[in-house]
């Protein structure tokens, strides 16, 4: 079942989705939601997936409606990541075209991208792909008219009000600004996706050479992804 809150990307809607997910998780912990399989938060809704052999959407609905509202989701343990990014050049091939279309110098685009601390709104599209926002108003552009058939792994990209890092090589239509050497998906980690809904993310500019060195260190196990978590 899907509980819809709206059909735009809006912080207020995201908070409502997060609050409901928290209510559902609490009911589950209390043993009041047998048959709950999982919940999936998105920009517009919370999907509540249940096993029809054990329960039914109408039972779940009643249970949730009777639950005391938590109002706003409390996020006591928000994680804050600082991820290195090599901006521009071969790592960010769309900065020049973006500069022409929005009338800002490439250096200014980079500054405006990394000076904001983003929130992870939801994951999806690809395993570990985190939709983050909001980017500065001056940087907002629709997706490329011609999507790329191949966006390299680690690409830092923007489209409309969102930014993301591609965890895999894949097709994609977002504007590529840079390269992040920290793997966002590790299928040997206890939790394979680095980012989770609700996390905060900052980007820290590094040179292309530094990014390559970091990528090599991370691949060789000399550095861990968790090193990029800021102390809370």
């Amino acid at each position: 079942m899907i509980v819809e809150f709206g059909d735009i990307i809006d912080r207020h809607i995201l908070e409502q989705v997060a609050a409901l997910e928290q209510t559902v998780a609490q009911l589950h912990v209390e043993g009041q939601l047998p048959g709950l399989i999982e919940t999936v938060p998105t920009f517009r809704s919370l999907a509540i997936i249940v096993d029809p052999l054990t329960t039914s959407p109408s039972i779940v609905r009643k249970c949730i409606e009777n639950a005391p509202s938590t109002g706003k989701a409390h996020t006591p343990d928000t994680r804050h990541w600082s991820l290195p990014v090599s901006y521009g050049g071969n790592d960010g091939p769309d900065i020049e075209s973006l500069s022409e279309s929005i009338g800002l110098e490439p250096a200014e685009i980079i500054t405006r991208h990394h000076q904001v601390t983003y929130s992870v709104y939801m994951l999806g599209f690809l395993p570990g792909y985190a939709f983050m926002g909001d980017i500065d108003h001056s940087l907002r552009q629709p997706r490329r008219r011609q999507p790329r058939t191949r966006v390299p792994e680690g690409s830092v990209a923007i489209a409309n009000q969102l930014t993301a890092v591609y965890p895999w090589e894949s097709p994609g239509g977002w504007h590529l600004l840079g390269y992040c050497p920290v793997p966002l998906f590790d299928n040997t980690a206890s939790v394979p996706a680095l980012l989770a809904p609700g996390d905060k993310v900052s980007f820290r500019p590094v040179t292309a050479a530094e990014a390559q060195d970091l990528a090599a260190d991370l691949a060789a196990g000399k550095q861990q992804s968790s090193n990029y978590l800021l102390p809370s």
């Binding site: 079942m1 899907i2 819809e4 059909d7 735009i8 990307i9 399989i37 999982e38 919940t39 999936v40 938060p41 998105t42 920009f43 517009r44 809704s45 999907a47 997936i49 029809p52 052999l53 039914s56 959407p57 109408s58 939801m122 994951l123 999806g124 599209f125 690809l126 395993p127 570990g128 792909y129 939709f131 895999w168 998906f185 299928n187 939790v191 394979p192 996706a193 989770a196 809904p197």
Partner: protein
């Protein structure tokens, strides 16, 4: 003593190891994966004495060739498949090449090649191996190749792969093989079990009903669009894989141009998305977790295997059901599975009469009862 195994000689195209799939990770973008026809997985496992949710091999038209190592293994094939055995080496005791029926288990000698090809009405064949022993990856052995999860190294089966088995229990080996009556209704009661060759060429194949709950974005379509979806026939195209299947039919009308793209929403197996083209895309086991096309309906879980099993060209008709009906239908389907599992009997039991054997042949579509050795063990 080395771990017993079955080796893959040819993996065919996209033959994967699947089980019930992994749950709880959609919020970080990881699909469930898992068997396209879960009841066939349970049945195949029951026939070889495995836990019902053990991993099985799921293969498509291109088939699969395996060879046993130095231990005998028990396998079962569920589906509409040709199965051949041939000895890898000549020896005084090795039988000559022979074919075997599906819908039962078989004790396969060491050093034997097993070829499996799906042969009839259905696209998917399921093979279970007694004692298959794979480590779960995030709670499941289901292969999801796009993120290298599950299976053997996260990939479809490839030549040279060794599928590990638990040490074979001697008592288990001595148990008789098991069989069940083929139960096409596991895939959906409307599936016609007549072999294609016996059908009149002029006759259009029967339309299969897919029951679906409208929404969650039914308001993204005009009344005419919704009516069209639930009244017209849609044909399965060749663009179908474990992730989803594209259907072709009359254009389903969106309420507005803006309604063709929505803010990203959750997707599950069964979701029917309608992009700007107006042609539906039904999502299957590997469905990604979120997407931006409006969803006109969700196919109920017990009807989804019908879509996964059929070949391109099959016509479907969507039937609207409400949520409560969908829940009841899911429970009915589970009861049907329980009944079928309860009807599994040892091969050669008096219970199985010749009429049943002929029925089995008919459904297999290729076996000549006179040449199949029903009591080869």
């Amino acid at each position: 003593m080395t771990t017993p195994f079955v080796e893959v000689e040819h993996g065919g195209l996209s033959c994967t190891i699947q089980d019930c799939g992994r749950r709880g990770l959609r919020r970080i973008g990881i699909p469930w994966a898992g068997a396209l026809v879960p009841h066939w997985m349970s049945l195949a496992n029951a026939l070889v004495g495995n836990a019902l949710d053990s991993p099985v091999l799921e293969c498509f038209e291109s088939g699969l060739t395996l060879k046993t190592g130095d231990t005998a293994v028990r396998i079962a094939v569920v589906g509409d498949a040709d199965i051949w055995l041939e000895p890898l080496h000549d020896g005084p005791h090795t039988p000559t090449a022979r074919s075997l029926p599906a819908w039962r288990s078989h004790q396969i000698p060491p050093d034997t090649r097993i070829r499996i090809r799906s042969s009839g009405a259905w696209r998917v064949t399921v093979l279970s191996i007694s004692g298959i022993a794979l480590q779960p990856h995030y709670g499941s052995a289901a292969t999801y190749a796009r993120a290298a999860l599950g299976g053997l190294n996260g990939k479809p089966l490839q030549a040279g792969d060794k599928i590990p088995l638990a040490n074979v229990d001697q008592a288990q080996t001595e148990k008789p093989d098991l069989q069940c009556t083929p139960h096409p209704e596991i895939a959906g009661s409307q599936v016609d079990t007549e072999p294609a060759a016996q059908q009149n060429q002029q006759e259009t194949p029967p339309v299969i009903d897919l029951r679906a709950v409208p929404g969650p974005q039914e308001d993204a379509f005009t009344t005419a669009g919704l009516t069209c979806f639930f009244s017209c026939d849609f044909i399965l195209t060749e663009e179908a894989d474990r992730m989803g299947a594209r259907l072709q039919g009359p254009t389903i009308e969106h309420a507005s141009k803006a309604a063709r793209d929505i803010v990203t929403d959750a997707i599950i197996p069964g979701s029917v998305q309608v992009p700007g083209s107006g042609q539906p895309i039904a999502m299957l086991a590997d469905a990604h977790t979120a997407g931006g096309y409006p969803k006109i309906a969700t196919i109920i879980s017990c009807d989804l295997p019908k879509l996964a099993l059929c070949r391109s060209g099959q016509r479907f008709h969507f039937v609207s059901v409400d949520v409560d009906e969908a829940v009841n239908l899911a429970r009915d389907a589970q009861q049907t599975l329980a009944d079928i599992l309860a009807g599994i009997v040892p091969v050669g039991d008096a219970y199985v009469d010749s009429a049943a054997l002929f029925q089995q042949n008919l459904i297999g579509g290729i076996f000549d009862a006179q040449h199949v050795d029903w009591r080869d063990d």
